[in-house]
């Protein structure tokens, strides 16, 4: 069926709604006024300089990257074998196991964050940084398992059987035969898990303490007290990071993955 003009107009309006705020943010990031004004007066790069000279932002940025990378690696170490087991073997209770792995999607982030804080930090007295890592790992695990499982779907296990029958051990077979076939899926899983951890607010907000805070949490408290374009500049920087990640995901998994 052809699309009517009305539908095209409606779609354009919705995309304007989605992108106008982003465009406004980008423009205010280059304004020279000390408060955010729109339309922008003058042109300045000082807000970008501001972020890179601000210890607070640079330090939390580093922590965010660090937490996201470590949590993603842990989640890969745990998630890849799990995804492999679930797509390779059929056993009783598989449905239940799958539900357990995906349960962190259903539990509201703020509730999970609070219960981690309540139990792990208050009761068990685990360090904040460790708890933050654990929280992020659990939240991103479903993304890893889903993406890796979907790339394993296209793998022909008879190749693996051939390697095993020729005398390779299970582990060696996995490393030399299975893994190379799913590398692009693993890279995509890494990118998606990384950005989800990096962007996380509801879990991180409970798991901050002296010296431990992530960038989104610092941004939130900054926004509540100041109203200058530093946050706009920081937003633009983060958008560039998003674009980079989208580019890699498009190259590996394909962005169409999102509509499946």
């Amino acid at each position: 069926m052809k699309r009517s003009r009305g539908l095209t107009f409606f779609t354009i309006c919705v995309y304007l709604f989605l992108f106008a705020p982003i465009v406004i943010i980008i423009m205010t990031a280059f304004g020279s006024d000390d408060v955010i004004t729109f339309p922008v007066k003058g042109f300045s790069m000082k807000w970008f300089a501001n972020i890179f000279t601000s210890d607070m932002f640079m330090k939390t940025f580093q922590i965010s990257i660090q937490v996201a990378v470590i949590a993603t690696i842990i989640a890969l170490i745990i998630g890849v074998p799990a995804a492999y087991a679930m797509s390779r073997f059929n056993y009783k209770g598989k449905g239940l196991i799958k539900n357990i792995f995906f349960s962190s999607i259903i539990v509201p982030g703020i509730v999970f964050g609070f219960s981690l804080f309540n139990f792990v930090i208050i009761k068990w007295k685990l360090p904040i940084y460790t708890s933050l890592l654990i929280g992020h790992t659990i939240v991103i695990l479903p993304y890893i398992i889903r993406v890796v499982a979907s790339s394993l779907e296209g793998f022909d296990y008879s190749i693996e059987e051939a390697a095993v029958s020729l005398g390779a051990s299970r582990l060696k077979t996995f490393i030399l035969v299975v893994f190379p076939n799913i590398t692009s899926g693993v890279i995509a899983a890494f990118m998606l898990a990384f950005i989800n951890s990096f962007n996380n607010v509801p879990i991180s907000i409970f798991l901050t303490g002296p010296g431990v805070s992530t960038l989104p949490i610092k941004m939130m408290s900054y926004v509540e007290y100041y109203y200058d374009p530093t946050i706009s500049a920081l937003s633009v920087t983060l958008m560039l990071m998003t674009i980079g990640i989208m580019f890699i995901v498009e190259r590996t998994l394909g962005l169409n993955y999102f509509s499946k």
Partner: protein, 275 residues
């Protein structure tokens, strides 16, 4: 041998989830039922009879429902447009939809602060053309939270719908039209019913997302428009009332699970009717 492998590979993941997700949750939920003299349900009767809490609960529910509804109204036509686009354009449109999704929620809420604020884009514009004499109060209202959450979750609705709509054959629509239905009728009688599975997934995601969102209500709602998730944080971290926070957290979990259950049940009923 194979069986052993299967379970060994799953053990690390299951352990970490049970240890750090399930046990803390059970502990948090369980603690709300233990009073000075054993089992008690009183904290929940207090919650649901206290006007203040009931107001926050219904506000949160209202925001989530309106968000889901608006996302549907905006999302269905857009998803349909994308699903009928040429492959190259479809890719661009999906990229444009995914981009906000992968952008930090603080950034996305902050954008609306600059638009709705006292000196924000809308107020400046209206003042400059002398439509209003003094700035309107747009920020720190329920309206601001709703705009912000729709903005946050609309892409999820679109993305959930596109996948389903892509599979609707053009022949079906042509058949409907050749039988005399006009485009709009064909759309509502053919496309929308066939999109129900995507609509269900999308609504669950948007509703639960909006119901439990923290960043947007915190930044756009201010101190007067508290929702359940900001209430959990406030109870725990500002007031040190951990049991109170646990009660609110439990109410959130139960409501989310109930809504998911109801929507799935409705979906089952619709399937029985053959839609």
């Amino acid at each position: 041998m194979k069986k052993k492998w299967f379970y060994t590979l799953l053990v690390p993941g299951l352990t970490i989830i049970i240890l750090f997700l399930f046990i803390p949750l059970i502990y948090t939920i369980g603690s709300t039922f233990i009073g000075d003299s054993g089992f008690t349900f009183s904290r929940y009767t207090t919650f649901f009879t206290d006007g203040y809490y009931v107001k926050i609960f219904s506000r949160t529910l209202k925001i989530a429902l309106i968000t889901a509804l608006i996302s549907m109204i905006l999302g269905i036509p857009v998803a349909y447009y994308i699903s009928r686009s040429k492959k190259s354009i479809r890719g661009v449109l999906i990229a444009c939809t995914v981009f906000p999704l992968l952008t930090n929620s603080v950034v996305r809420s902050f954008a609306w602060m600059t638009i709705l604020g006292k000196n924000g884009v809308i107020n400046n514009l209206l003042m400059n053309v002398h439509v209003i004499g003094s700035p309107l109060k747009l920020l720190y209202t329920e309206f601001a939270i709703i705009i912000g959450t729709v903005y946050l979750f609309l892409p999820l609705m679109v993305v959930s719908l596109v996948g389903v709509m892509e599979n609707i054959e053009n022949d079906l629509l042509e058949a409907a039209e050749s039988l005399g239905a006009n485009r709009l009728t064909a759309f509502f009688k053919v496309v929308v019913p066939l999109s129900v599975p995507g609509l269900i997934v999308g609504s669950v995601l948007v509703f639960t997302g909006a119901f439990t969102a923290y960043t947007t209500p915190q930044l756009l709602g201010g101190n007067t428009n508290i929702v359940l998730s900001t209430l959990v944080y406030q109870r725990a971290m500002t007031l040190g009332d951990w049991t109170g926070a646990s009660v609110v957290a439990t109410v959130m979990i139960i409501t989310t699970l109930t809504v998911i259950g109801v929507i799935n049940k409705l979906a089952g009923k619709l399937n029985e009717r053959g839609i």
